[in-house]
C-alpha cells in the first residue's frame, strides 16, 4: 500500500470531504495561502477558494463562535486551531455553546463541527505551545474526542468527524506530521468508539493514545526481545471509549499500563484506569498503572523537556516490573 505522511492524510481527508459535501469549510489562522505553519492544508485554498478555506484574524474565541453558529444553521465547519494550547481560548464557545446545543434544545438543534488541533511536547516550544489538553474536553458531555496515532487514523477519523452531527475535537500529534504510514487510496472511514489492537500480546496490555501508541509499540518491540509479550491497544477515540476492547485485553493479560501525553494528574489515564479497575478488578494481578506527562508546565530546555513525557524505555521498564510482579506506584 502507498505510504503518505500524516499531514498528507489530513489534507486528503479534508479535500475528499469538501468535494463530497459543499457545506464543509475550513476556518482558522493562516489556513489559506500559507496552508498553516505546519503546511498541512497546502493546496486546499486553490481548489476550494477563500470562502471555504477562510483565513481569520487572530481571534480564536471569535472564529470558534462563528463556527458554532455556522454549524447550527446548515454548514460543517472544520476549525483549525493552530496549537492545542489555544484551546483554553475557545473553551467557552466549545463547551458552553457547541457541546450543549443539542441537549439544551431538547434535540432540536445541533452543532456538527470539528475542531482540528494538536498536542505533543519535545518540540522545544515551551510551556504555551506544547500542551496535550485533550482531558479538558473529554470531561465535557456533548463533545467527542479523537486522538489519531498515525496517518491512517488521522485520515479515517477526520472523515468520520466531519460527517458526525456532533461537535468533535481531534488532536493530531504535531511531531507526527511528517511520519509516513500505509494509507489506502480508496475511501475509508474509521468509526468512533472502536479501539484498534495494534499488536497482540498476552503478558501485559499497553493502552496508548496518539503519539504514545508509537511509544508503546517500540516498548513492545523491546519487550518481545526479552520474551515479554505485550499487547498494544489504541482506543482511537476517548469519547466514545471502546471499553469492551480495553476490558477484554485487561482480562486476558491481567496487567495494564495506560500511557498518555497529557499531564497525568486529573487527566485521562485516571479515567481509563478506573474503568478497567472497576470492571476487571478481579482479573487484575496488579492495579492498572498510569503513565502521563509529568505534572509540570513544559520546560523549554531540552534537557528538562525530554524528561516530562513517557518514552519507550520508561514504558518497557514499567512493563517489566509489572510482569515480574513488583508493586508499582504511579507517583
Amino acid at each position: 500500500m502507498r505510504e503518505i505522511t500524516l499531514s498528507q492524510a489530513v489534507n486528503e481527508a479534508l479535500a475528499e470531504e469538501m468535494r463530497r459535501d459543499e457545506t464543509v469549510f475550513i476556518i482558522g489562522e493562516d489556513v489559506a495561502e500559507a496552508g498553516t505553519p505546519f503546511k498541512v492544508l497546502s493546496g486546499l485554498v486553490e481548489e476550494f477558494g477563500t470562502d471555504r478555506v477562510v483565513d481569520t484574524p487572530i481571534a480564536e474565541p471569535g472564529f470558534m463562535g462563528l463556527a458554532v453558529g455556522a454549524a447550527m444553521t446548515g454548514t460543517r465547519p472544520v476549525v483549525d486551531l493552530m496549537f492545542g494550547d489555544f484551546i483554553y481560548l475557545i473553551m467557552d464557545q466549545l463547551c458552553n455553546q457547541a457541546a450543549k446545543t443539542h441537549y439544551m434544545s431538547g434535540g432540536k438543534m445541533s452543532a456538527p463541527l470539528v475542531v482540528r488541533t494538536n498536542l505533543g511536547a519535545t518540540r522545544r516550544s515551551a510551556a504555551q505551545h506544547s500542551q496535550s489538553l485533550h482531558a479538558l474536553v473529554a470531561h465535557i458531555p456533548g463533545l467527542k474526542v479523537a486522538l489519531p496515532s498515525s496517518a491512517y487514523e488521522a485520515k479515517g477519523l477526520l472523515k468520520t468527524a466531519i460527517r458526525d452531527n456532533n461537535p468533535v475535537v481531534i488532536f493530531e500529534d504535531k511531531l507526527m506530521y511528517n511520519d509516513k504510514a500505509p494509507v489506502p487510496e480508496e475511501e475509508y472511514l474509521i468509526p468512533f468508539g472502536e479501539a484498534h489492537i495494534k499488536r497482540a500480546g498476552t503478558d501485559v496490555t499497553l493502552i496508548g493514545t496518539s503519539s504514545m501508541v508509537q511509544v508503546c509499540e517500540k516498548a513492545a518491540g523491546n519487550l518481545a526481545a526479552e520474551g515479554i509479550s505485550a499487547e498494544v491497544i489504541d482506543p482511537r477515540t476517548i469519547v466514545p471509549l471502546d471499553e469492551a476492547a480495553l476490558l477484554a485485553s485487561a482480562k486476558k493479560t491481567s496487567r495494564v499500563i495506560v500511557v498518555d501525553e497529557g499531564h497525568q494528574s486529573f487527566g485521562i489515564t485516571g479515567e481509563i484506569a478506573s474503568r478497567i479497575n472497576e470492571k476487571a478488578f478481579y482479573h487484575l494481578d496488579a492495579p492498572v498503572l498510569r503513565m502521563g506527562a509529568m505534572d509540570v508546565p513544559v520546560p523549554f530546555t531540552p534537557v528538562l523537556e525530554d524528561l516530562t513525557v513517557p518514552t519507550p524505555q520508561s514504558v518497557a521498564e514499567n512493563a517489566r516490573k509489572l510482569v515480574s510482579g513488583e508493586m508499582i506506584h504511579a507517583a
Binding site: 457545506t23 469549510f25 470562502d51 471555504r52 481569520t56 484574524p57 481571534a59 474565541p61 471569535g62 472564529f63 470558534m64 463562535g65 462563528l66 463556527a67 458554532v68 453558529g69 455556522a70 454549524a71 447550527m72 444553521t73 446548515g74 454548514t75 465547519p77 467557552d92 464557545q93 458552553n96 455553546q97 446545543t101 443539542h102 441537549y103 439544551m104 434544545s105 431538547g106 434535540g107 432540536k108 438543534m109 445541533s110 456538527p112 458531555p141 456533548g142 467527542k144 458526525d164 452531527n165 456532533n166 468508539g193 469519547v239 466514545p240 471509549l241 471502546d242 471499553e243 469492551a244
Partner: protein, 337 residues
C-alpha cells in the same frame, strides 16, 4: 413617535401592537408564576423593551435568524413563538420548545429561526455571525440579527466577530439593547467611550435609535435588513430602552442602584405600548374599544396557555441522558458512556 404612515399599513401596525402586548402579557404571567412559586429557577423580564424586539423582528422573514439573550422571552415571541410551548418550557415540561431541558435562559424556537437564548453574556455573538456566514456560503439570502445588552459590549468576543463580519460583509445586524444597566450596575460606570464608535471603528455602519418607538425601530430595521440582504452589511444598532423589572424576577429591592423616580419616569412617559396605542388611536388606525378587545383576547390566550402548561407533563426520567449526542439514544446506557 416617528412620522405617521398611511393607514394602508394598518395591518402591520396592528400586528406590531399585538406582538408588543403579547410580550408584556407573557412577562406578566411569567412573573406571576415566579411569585406564586410555580416556576423553577429565576427569569429575566423583557417588559419595557417590547418595541425593540417587535420593531426588529417585524422586519424579518421566518427564514431570517435571530440569536437572543438571558432576557429572551421578548425576542422569542416577536420572532413568532407560541405561548403554549413557551410556558411549557419555562415550567420544564415535555411540550416546551426544548422539552424542558433549556428553560427560560435557553429557550429557542428553531421553527421560526430563533437560534436560542443564551446564559453567557455575549455568548451568542459568534453564533449570530456564524449564522450569517452560512447564509453567505450557501447563497441564501437570509439575514441574522444578534440581540444583546449594553453590558455585553464589554465582552471581547464582540470585537472579534465584528471584525470578521466587517471583513467578509456578512448579513448580520448587531442589535444592542441599551437599557442602561448590567445587572445591578449602571453600565456607564463600567463602559468607557462610545458604544456606537466601537462598531464604527471596525468600519461598520452604526445607528442609534429610540428603542421605545416601535415605528422608528421598525423603519430603521426594514432599511438595514433590506441592505444586509443585498450584501451591504453588517450593521450595528444601539437601541435606547429600559427594563421595568429588576435584573431578574427576584431583584425586588433595587433602590441602591436605580431610583424609583427613574423607573416611574420611563414607565409613565416612555412606555412603548402606551405611546403606540395613543398614536394608533389618534391616527384612526384603530379604536380604543378594538384595542381593549385585542388586549383581553391576548390575556385569555396567555391564561389558557399558562393553565395548559401547569397541567402538562414533565419529560420522562429516561430523557435525562437523551440528546447528549445526536446519534446515541441514551448516552449512559452505551458502553461508551
Amino acid at each position: 413617535m416617528s412620522s405617521a404612515k398611511t393607514s394602508s399599513n394598518a395591518e402591520d401596525y396592528l400586528r406590531m401592537y399585538r406582538q408588543m402586548v403579547r410580550i408584556r402579557t407573557f412577562e406578566d404571567n411569567a412573573n406571576q408564576l415566579y411569585l406564586s412559586a410555580k416556576m423553577p429557577g429565576l427569569t429575566h423580564m423583557y417588559s419595557g423593551e417590547e418595541a425593540v424586539a417587535v420593531g426588529i423582528c417585524e422586519a424579518l422573514r421566518v427564514t431570517d435568524k435571530i440569536t437572543s439573550t438571558h432576557r429572551g422571552h421578548g425576542h422569542c415571541v416577536a420572532k413568532g413563538a407560541e405561548f403554549k410551548e413557551m410556558f411549557c418550557e419555562l415550567l420544564g415540561k415535555e411540550e416546551g420548545y426544548c422539552r424542558g431541558k433549556g428553560g427560560s435562559m435557553h429557550i429557542a424556537d428553531q421553527s421560526n429561526g430563533n437560534l436560542g437564548a443564551n446564559a453567557i453574556v455575549g455568548g451568542s455573538m459568534g453564533i449570530a455571525t456564524g449564522s450569517a456566514y452560512t447564509a453567505r456560503l450557501l447563497g441564501r439570502d437570509d439575514v441574522t440579527v444578534c440581540f444583546f445588552g449594553d453590558g455585553a459590549t464589554a465582552q471581547g468576543l464582540m470585537y472579534e466577530v465584528m471584525n470578521m463580519a466587517a471583513l467578509w460583509k456578512l448579513p448580520v445586524i448587531y442589535a444592542c439593547e441599551n437599557n442602561g444597566y448590567s445587572e445591578y450596575t449602571r453600565t456607564d460606570e463600567i463602559a468607557a467611550g462610545s458604544i456606537i464608535a466601537r462598531a464604527e471603528a471596525f468600519g461598520i455602519e452604526a445607528h442609534q435609535v429610540d428603542g421605545q418607538d416601535v415605528l422608528a425601530v421598525n423603519e430603521l430595521a426594514q432599511k438595514l435588513v433590506a441592505r444586509a440582504r443585498k450584501g451591504e452589511g453588517p450593521f450595528f444598532i444601539e437601541l435606547m430602552t429600559y427594563r421595568y423589572h429588576g435584573h431578574h424576577v427576584g431583584d425586588i429591592n433595587r433602590e441602591y442602584y436605580r431610583s424609583k423616580e427613574e423607573e416611574r419616569e420611563w414607565k409613565q412617559n416612555r412606555d412603548p405600548i402606551i405611546k403606540f396605542r395613543g398614536w394608533l388611536v389618534a391616527q384612526g388606525v384603530v379604536s380604543e374599544g378594538e384595542i381593549d378587545a385585542m388586549n383581553a383576547e391576548i390575556e385569555r390566550d396567555a391564561a389558557a396557555a399558562v393553565e395548559y402548561a401547569l397541567n402538562a407533563s414533565y419529560p420522562d426520567v429516561s430523557e435525562v441522558d437523551m440528546h447528549v449526542f445526536t446519534d446515541v439514544e441514551h448516552a449512559l446506557s452505551q458502553p461508551t458512556a
